[in-house]
Each structure stands twice: as structure tokens, then as C-alpha cells.
Amino acid sequence: MVSIQRSLINELSGLDSALCFQSYDDDDSFPKDYGYGAYNQDGLDLEPNATSSSETKPRILLMGLRRSGKSSIQKVVFHKMAPNETLFLESTSKIVKDDINNSSFVQFQIWDFPGQIDFIEPTFDSDMIFGGCGALVFVIDAKDDYNEALTKFKNTVIKAHKVNPNIKFEVFIHKVDGISDDSKMESQRDIHQRSSDDLGEAGLHKINLSYHLTSIYDHSIFEAFSKVVQKLIPQLPTLENLCNIFIQNSGIEKAFLFDVVSKIYIATDSSPVDMQTYELCCDMIDMVIDLSSIYSSEETAFDSGSASLIKLNNNTILYLREVNKFLALVCILREENFNRRGIIDYNFICFRDAISEVFKLRLMSQARLENNDQDDDDDDDGPPPATPSP
């Protein structure tokens, strides 16, 4: 145990937190009690022999027929490419690995597969591909004839499920900006029906398929990706609960915890997400980043002082605060509730502390996981952490 503790301290010392040491010293049984059960269960850990930290990130696979829009999705969501520029993207000819570790919570890789590769061939290393994969996003072009895509999808799912039963399957019915509402519904129903029939024939009734209607020309692709990413975050219930508590005690209508770079929300409170609200919040982040990259004295556009307040003419207020280096909380609230700004700010600080606590635990469990791999002697799965309540 001693050696584990020592290495933990080393890990954490890079993390700038003196508080962390204190609490750690106070509680000797810390690593045991705060094991992260959910982390192992959700299929997020990898092959036992994974050693380097880059391999421990869950992978999101982007698959689909060629010209279905996979690379465009990746460019728009994670590289801030303007949607109309994606027209000029070359078709992808080899697997493109993309590390998304801009946010500590969203640490994963996206593998953009070229559509023409037949990865079902025996020569293809499916264990390597699907083994450490957290979610498989299958992109279907809604404007095209999707018979071929469905066949390929079925084969992919069967193969991937065999290799890794924990994989989460997401179907993006893509490019719906070009079709009418009715045919949107119709193709969604059709795809849903046929794919579940196909999988039923193959004996895979239990597989959880999620369908999303997406387009890169509005925010639907961001929302769909948010849903995908959220499923890969084991702490999501905790984060969601924190948001709930925060908004209820501060008189806020809706709060999003955003990953600033990609504008996907990694958690929100449990009230329904309204698309316009989400778009407003996205636009606010864009605006804040753009403005502060012009005027900030440091080179970073987003830092601990980042905050913004926008009053809309319908008596609502958009309020943005920095949570940590990568995350921002964007709230929408009515103007009269903003009278109690002190309370909101205080609650926010509690919220931020709680988030950083969750964040710390995650790092620890990650470090512990690595040690486990080396020492191979510690395999306890403790309960999830108690929710810190403001």
C-alpha cells in the first residue's frame, strides 16, 4: 500500500493542489474508500495490458458508408470548422485518430474510419479496433438510399458486439437539414424498424441502439454528440445532480456544463433541454471566446477569471462562469431572480468546488488503475462517492 500512496502523491503533485495533500493525509484509507466502481463497470477501462495513458481513454468510433459525412462531423464538432467549408474536405483514405483531451472530462479518441474500408474482413484487427471502444457512432446519410448502410451497420454491430459487449451504439441519421419534417420522421421510423428487425434476426435483442437526427448546419449534431459523450462519463449522475441542486437553490431556469472548446455539454440539469436555449448558450460561449481572445492580455482566451453576463430583452439573463480550465457553466435565468446575485455566486463556488472534487477523485482512480495494472493486487470496487451538497 505504501508504494501506491507514494505514487499517488507523485501523480497529484503535478496538480497544483495543496488541499489535496491535506485531505489525503487526514484520511489514510482514502484510496480504498474512493474506488470508482462505475468506471470499471461501464466498459471504460481497457485491455489489461494497456499501459500508456493515451490508451486508457475511451474511444469513439465514427463509422459509416463513404461520403456519409463522418469527417465533416468530426471537423465541425471538434475542430471548429465552419459547416459550409466541409464541402471541400477530401475523402478520408486511412483511419484518422484524433485525441480529444482538451477537457479533463472529455478525454477520448475519435477514430474516423474511411468509408470504403471493409473492416469486417478477417485481416482487419477487429479486436484492436473494437476492444477499447466506448461508443460506436454509425453515420447514415438520410438523403441517400440507406439499404446498403443498414446492411453494413448490421454487420458492424454483430462483429463489434462479439468483441466488446459493452460498446454503445449510436446511429446518426445525418444530413436531415435537406429533408422535410415528415420524411425525417419517416426515415427515422424506417431505419429504427429495420435495424431492430435485423438485429433481432441475429439474436441481439438486448442491444441498446440510440438514434439521433443530425445536421452540421444547426446545433443538432452538437446535441447528439453531447448525448454520446455523456454516456461515456461515469460521473454523469453526480454532475447532473449537482446541476439540479445548483439551479434549484439559485432560482435558475437551466444550466449547462459546457466543454468550452467543442461546445458539447457534458452535463445539464434534468429539466428538458430546449434547443433554442442550447443554441443561445453555444453562441454565448463563441462570443465570449472571440471577444476575450481579442482583448485578453494573456494568450489564453479562457481562464479562471472568465465570466460573462448577457441580458436579453425578454427579461432573461445568460450567465457564464468558468468552472475549470476546460469547463464553463452557462445558466439561463429570469431577470428578477438575478437580484440575488450574491447567492448565485456563492452557490456557484460551492458547485465549482464540488466539481473539482469529483474531478480529483477521477484522477485518483485513474492513477490507482494504473498502479493496479503494475501491482496487480488491488481490485476493490467501492461505492460511488457521496455527493457533496452545497
Binding site: M185, Q188, Y211, L213, P237, E240, N244, S270, P272, D274
Partner: protein
Amino acid sequence: MPDSMEDPATVSLRICLEGHANALALNKDYTQIAVAGRSLLKVYSIDNYGFTESCNMRGGKNQNLSYSSNDVSWSTLDSNLLATAATNGVVSVWDLSKFGRQKQLLVYNEHERTAHTVTFHSSEPNILISGSQDGTIKCFDIRSDKSVNTYFSNSESVRDVKFSPHTQNIFSAVSENGTVQLWDMRKWDKCMVQFTAHSGPIYTCDWHPTRNWLATGSRDKQIKVWNMDGRPGLEYTIHTIAVVGRVKWRPERTYHIASCALVVDYSIHVWDIRRPFIPFASFNDHTNVTTGIAWQGDSHCLLSTSKDSTIYKHAFKDATRPALKANAQGASLGRHGDISFAQKIKEYAVKTSGVTNTKTTSFKSRSKTPVAGSMQFHLDHSKMYKFRLKDVEPHSQALSEHESFIGCAQDLLISGKKLADLCDHNADVCRKYGKHNATTLWNFIKLFYGTNHFEPPFEHRASFSTNSRRATQVQSDWTMPQRGEMGQDLNGNNQEAPHEIGADSSVDIDDEHEHPPTSSVILSETQILSEITFDNFELLRNGFIYVGPTSDVSKALAFPALHHDVQAARAQVDLKANEHEKSPPPHVPTVLKVPHVPIPMWEPHKFVADALMLQNDVGDVQTALTVIIALGEARKLLPLEDALVEHWFHAYVDQLHRYELWNEAGEVINRSWLRSVRQLNQQSTTMHTNCGKCSRPLAGHVGWLCDKCKSMQSAKCCVCGLIVRGIYAWCQGCSHGGHIEHLQKYFAQHSKCPTCGHLCAYS
């Protein structure tokens, strides 16, 4: 149902709550209402005059998160049992017969994420189910402290669960991925039916009380009604204006359903599902988003909670009826000049025939095809007419684009006549060259601007509520019947005497009595003001003129429904001209609005400007610019930027030049009022002249004096030898020339230059 039977005419009542209310539930007798919210869980008993608090389960200051409720449900059999679903996933069961802390009978802490909904079984008193954000539905038996069954919906989040009233043990679950599932309670491994219902998250569902129908409401702003017999089939779709939060079927009415929105729209709408675009009734009392609705037993009372911390009990008779205010007529103009016109048949048959007549006057001949489509709403019939303009000339589609451009450029008149005549002429020209859009536009211009002499004060219409207005003039107007086609004459006259009214409006009324008019009296707004209290000023300042028998005027003003009427009418001010035949509200027979008077306030300027921009955008700068020029001074009314117009000028002149239509281009430039365009005529034509003797360019500044050979020879006519004053015709080939009339005569007989024998081509 003790209350509503004896007195269904209750008014809406309102009490204040602390904090937001998220949901409400009624007990089985409809005598008590439970309201749940963030820091609130209370039971009120309902009586005819309001609500009285009978139980508060959130006494004290304990901030236990398990009490912060998303949903509340009342047992359908036991009036003492309540269940709540909390944001942290806890489902609690409350027993109202107990005291203090013991009221909270059971706490199930099983959902990992927020519990969204909870509901009791309709016949088994001990069974309840809950749906949660974690995608599971759990079934609890209050005799045990653990869940009995868990149903995995395979979706991100279950938003609503409801037991079917028709089949025992069947419940529906709707989820955020847009699917509806039917579960049999006894089979927890797999759902019976699953289908995709909406393209967005579904937030609510409700079973029809008598038919096997399920209504679902979604983020895609639609309410859909599904027939659940056998394979689920879509029966009706209602399009609302906002995200649907809750839906509730109205008891005793097969086709009525109430809905409230999650954002934007604060009112509760009751829809007739057979009329999916206009709500049958609306309650507009809430000042924030409505969160919960329930019918109080019968169909006449609707209870609702809202984020504005109130409970309302709405009496159905107090609802507004948007459907009645809707405009039952519609007209549209086709690009070939056809008109289609739809109307409600029942009440206005006589009136509409008149309208069609006035419209027909401007057309030469038409084929009338009545009752092309007869749409049937559940009570109303509507009829559609289509008037087709008979083709006067054969279609000239053989003309290519540049041919029609040249033709139009040569034939279009831009000045020299009255605007109406210009418009007529130009419309004919456009029709001749196959430009039907432009024809329609010219016709419109004639209608809007052709009938009147435009003076700058015309702009006073822009601010309609400037209230110094023209009582005396109105009076003089109705003595001259049928004045002004679009009411514009009326307006033009009125501006002359704007200041006389304040003092003598009462005198006017007396005057009216002296004239026993033929059928009607027109009152101006100032007169109305003099009769009613000052409080109503706001309602009336939109300026409506009322028509009716004189003796009835004061009575009509005292009529309580007037306010209603005025409010309805206010929304109409900004309607387009097409829609101006508004139906008068049938229950106010003595107060009628004159359609002609408010409508002239509609200003076509913006509309015309848009039309011109559109013409330009589709590549027809010719029409756009010609219209502007033809309008003359009236063009100043159009909200068009000078820079844009200047650009049009340049574009059009450039086009004309390319087709070598120099005269037309010159005409256009001459008509321009922009300096930069007018200058084109002075700067663009440069003639390079040569000395007739030495053939050097005449670069000097002294006219025809050659710098090189110091000769004035070039200034002289080569026929008569005199110095030319006035027009000097000149051959570019040999640099000799002279008086144009001399050269004309000369070249009529000769073909060579009189000086050098050059073969000049005189044309």
C-alpha cells in the same frame, strides 16, 4: 363533483404559493389538489371561492433534497395516499392521515438519476410506477420497501408513464429519444410495442378516457394522437407554437385536448383535434410557463399551476376562443393575374359576393370555377373560388431573355403620362414580352400609387396613433358615399383640418343627430373618446371607426363586450391588405368596423420596396428601376437606400449600353435624380478629333485650332466653307466635316468626301 354542478360559472381564482410549482394532482373526488415543487408540497381543498390549505408537508426549514419534487400523483382509490418523484431520483409515498413526520410513509431511493414521473395504478391501490432519467421504469408496491419490478426502456430518459384506462396492467412510457413503448406490467423483460413517434424528445403522454387513443407531446412542437388498436397508427397531428410540456384530454368531449408549453408560451390551449392549427379555447392568465394541468372532473373547470407560483381554477366559459377571431377568408394572387379566394360559407355569403364583384372590375374576362375544393371543418364549411384571367394574347414564350429585355427597354414608358397610365401601358408591355411577374407588379403599383396624387404629407400615416384627427371631416365624408377606392381620398382630405377636434367633438355628435343618415354613422375616435371614460383611451387609440344606427352608438359603447372587440381588432391592424375583410364578432351586432377605414393605414411602401428588391434579385433590374423612375416623387416613400438605387441605375445603364440602346440609356440617365448618375451623360462620351489638314489629334484647348499647323480649317464646313456653329458632323476616317444639313444634302448625291475623296460612310 359537488361544486361545478351547482355553479359552473366560477371565475378564475388565484392564490400565491411559495416557490415554483412543478406539478399538480387531484384526488379522486376532485375536492383536493396537491401541488408539488422545489420547496413545496401542499394540499389544498377546492371550493367555489378559492383554495384553502389543508395540509403542508414541507413545514420547517429542512432542505432535504428528496422532497424537491418533479411530479406528484394521487392514488386513484385511496384519498390519503400521495406519491412524489424527486429530482435526486427518490420516490416517496405520503399518507395524509398520519401526523408530522410520519406522513412520509415510504422512501424508495432506487433511481440513479432524476425521477421525472410517478403514477398510481388505476385499480390496484398499492401499485405505483415511476419513470426516470436513467432510462428505467420501476414498479413499487407500497407493502414492500423495495421496487417490485424494473423495466429497462433502452433509452436515455423516460419522461412520462401513464396507465391505460382501457386495459389492465398496460402502461405507456415515452422517452427522450422519441419513442413510445407499451409495457405489460407482468412482463418486465421486454416491452410489448415500441414505435418512433416524434423526431424529438417526447415529454408527455395521456390516454383518452374512452377511446383507445394515446396523445403524445414533444419538443418538435407537435401533439400527436395515436390509435393504439393493433398496430399504432397516427390519427391526428396538432401543430403548436412551442415545445409541448403537458397534455390532458378533456373529459366528456371526445375531440378536445388541453396542452401547455414548456417554454415561450404561457397560455393553456384546448384543441379540437379535428382543427389542428387554431386552438379551440385558450386560457391566458398565467404570467410564466404553465407546469401542470388537470380537469376538475367534468369538462368545465381546468386547474393549472405555473412557475409564476400560482394555482388557477379556470372556468371554461372564461376562456378566449382564438378560433372565433380567426380570419375566415383568404385571398391570393397568382403570377398570371389569377385570384383565388377562400371563404367561410355560412354567414357571409351575401357579403363576399359583393367583394368579388368589386374585384372583378379590373379584369377583362374570367372563367369562374366555384367550389374547387370544399373543405369541411367539423362545423364550418368553406369554399374556394378561383378566378382565372383569360389569356388575351398568346403566350410569347418563344422570346429569349435578351429579346424581351430589348423590347421592354424600348417600349417601357418611364415618364410623360400619369402614373396610372404609365402603369397600364407598362403592364401591357410586360405581358406582351412574357414577363408576368412584372405585369403583376405594375398592376400593384397602379393600385397603390396610381389613384392618388402624392404629396409629401402623405407620410403622416406612419404614426397612426397621433390622435389629432378629423371628426368634422369624417362627417363630411359620409355624406358623400363611396368615396375613394382604397380609402385614400378620405385620408387625403382629412389632413387638412387636423387641429379642430379637441374643442368641438361634442358638437359633432349633435350634428350627427341632425343628419338622419341613410343607414349608418361614422364616428371618429375622438368622438368616442368624448363619450367614454378616460381609462379606455388605451383600448381605443388604435383608432377604429364604428358604424351603426345613431341611436345605438352610446349603447354600444356601454356594451361590455366592446373591450373584447377592441382587443380583437387591435391585433388586426398589421394584417396585410388581402385579409382586410374581417368578420365582425357575431355577438356584437350593433358595433361594426368599417373595413375601409382602418386599412388605408396599411402602407404599401415597405412591401413595394421588398418587391422591387426581389425583382432585382431575380435578375430583373430593368423592372425594378423602371418602377422607381415611373413613381416620380412617390419613390421617396419607399424605404430604399440611395446607394442601392444608384447601383441599379448603373447596372441598368450598363446593360442598355451592351445592347447598344443608347437612346434608352440616355433617357434613363436623364431621368435620374442622383448626381453621380446624371454625370454619366457628360463624362462618358469622349470624341477624339483630328485636324483635317495634318491629321494630328486636336489636343489643344481652343476648339478646332490645330496646334501643329496653326490652322482653323477644321472648324469650317467643307461644303460651304463657313465656320460651323451648332452641330458639326464629322467623318472619323478623314477628319473632314461641316454643317450637318449640308453634308446630308451632299451625301445624298455623292459618296466621297468633298475635300479629300475619302469614301465616307454617312448614315
